[in-house]
C-alpha cells in the first residue's frame, strides 16, 4: 500500500528531481515511523491524499519558480544597466570632447598621448594665444 501510494504521488509532484526525491524520501521515513506506531492503514489515512500533498508541494514549487524568475530578471536588468553604462562611458571617453588642436600651426601634434592629455595641451595652447587660463580673472570659461 505504501509503495502504491508513493507510486501514485510521484508523477503529480512538480519541481526539481532533487527536491522531489527529498520529499519522497522524507515521506518514506515518515511512513516507516507512522506504520510502526499506528499500522499501515491508519498511517496512510493520517498522511492525507496524494492530491492534498501534491497541492501543497506544487504551490511551494510555483513560489520557488517565481522567486527564481525574479532573481534572473534582477540579474538581467543589472547586467543591462552595467553594459549600457560601460558603453556610454566608452563612447564618451573614446571621442575627443574638443575639436582637434591647431597644433599644426605651432608644431607637430602630440603623438602617443591620451585624448585627455591632448585636450589639456590643446586648451593650454589655445589660452596662451587668446585669453587668460581658466581660474584667472577675465576668464568666463569653466575648466
Amino acid at each position: 500500500m505504501q509503495d502504491d501510494f508513493l507510486r501514485e504521488l510521484r508523477p503529480t509532484l512538480a519541481g526539481s528531481r532533487e527536491a522531489r526525491a527529498r520529499l519522497v524520501e522524507e515521506l518514506e521515513a515518515h511512513l516507516e515511523d507512522s506504520v510502526a506506531c499506528e499500522g499501515e492503514a491508519e498511517a496512510l489515512a493520517r498522511l492525507g491524499t496524494t492530491a492534498e500533498i501534491a497541492a501543497g508541494w506544487n504551490e511551494l514549487q510555483r513560489r520557488r519558480r517565481g522567486r527564481t524568475r525574479r532573481s534572473m530578471a534582477m540579474v538581467s536588468v543589472s547586467l543591462a544597466c552595467a553594459i549600457a553604462l560601460g558603453v556610454t562611458q566608452y563612447a564618451a571617453g573614446g571621442r575627443p570632447r574638443t575639436p582637434a588642436p591647431k597644433a599644426a600651426k605651432h608644431g607637430s601634434r602630440p603623438v602617443g598621448v591620451s585624448s585627455e592629455a591632448r585636450r589639456i595641451a590643446h586648451e593650454l595652447t589655445r589660452f596662451s594665444h587668446t585669453e587668460s587660463p581658466p581660474g584667472f580673472a577675465g576668464s568666463s570659461r569653466s575648466w
Binding site: 520529499l23 522524507e26 521515513a29 515518515h30 493520517r46 492525507g48 491524499t49 500533498i53 501543497g56 522567486r67
Partner: protein, 107 residues
Amino acid sequence: MPRGDYSGHLDLLLLSALQGRCLHGYGVIEHVRRASGGLFDYPEGTVYPALHRLEDEGLVSSHWIEPDGGRRRRVYELTRKGEKALSGYRTSWHEFVRSMSAVVEEA
C-alpha cells in the same frame, strides 16, 4: 474545530514545535498533535511542504542524520531568524488571544 480552521497558524505551530529541539517531520507532527491534545491533526503529508517553505524562508535549517542500521532522516531546527520570527508570531498571537478574550468574555 474543523480541519483547516487553524491552518493559518501552521507556521507558528511548526516553529514552536522546533524551539529548542531538533526533530524530523514525524517528530514535529507528533509533538504538535500531543501538545494540542489531538486537536491539531493535520494531513501529515502536507506538513513537509510547509517545512520546506520555512527552510526556503531561512526560518529553519535541516540536515540528514543516519541512525545505525536505520533509514536516514531529515531533521529540522530553528535558525536565529526563525527564533526571531517565532518571537514575533507569539507576540501577535498573545495580542490576538487577549483581544478576542476581551470581546468574547464581555459579551
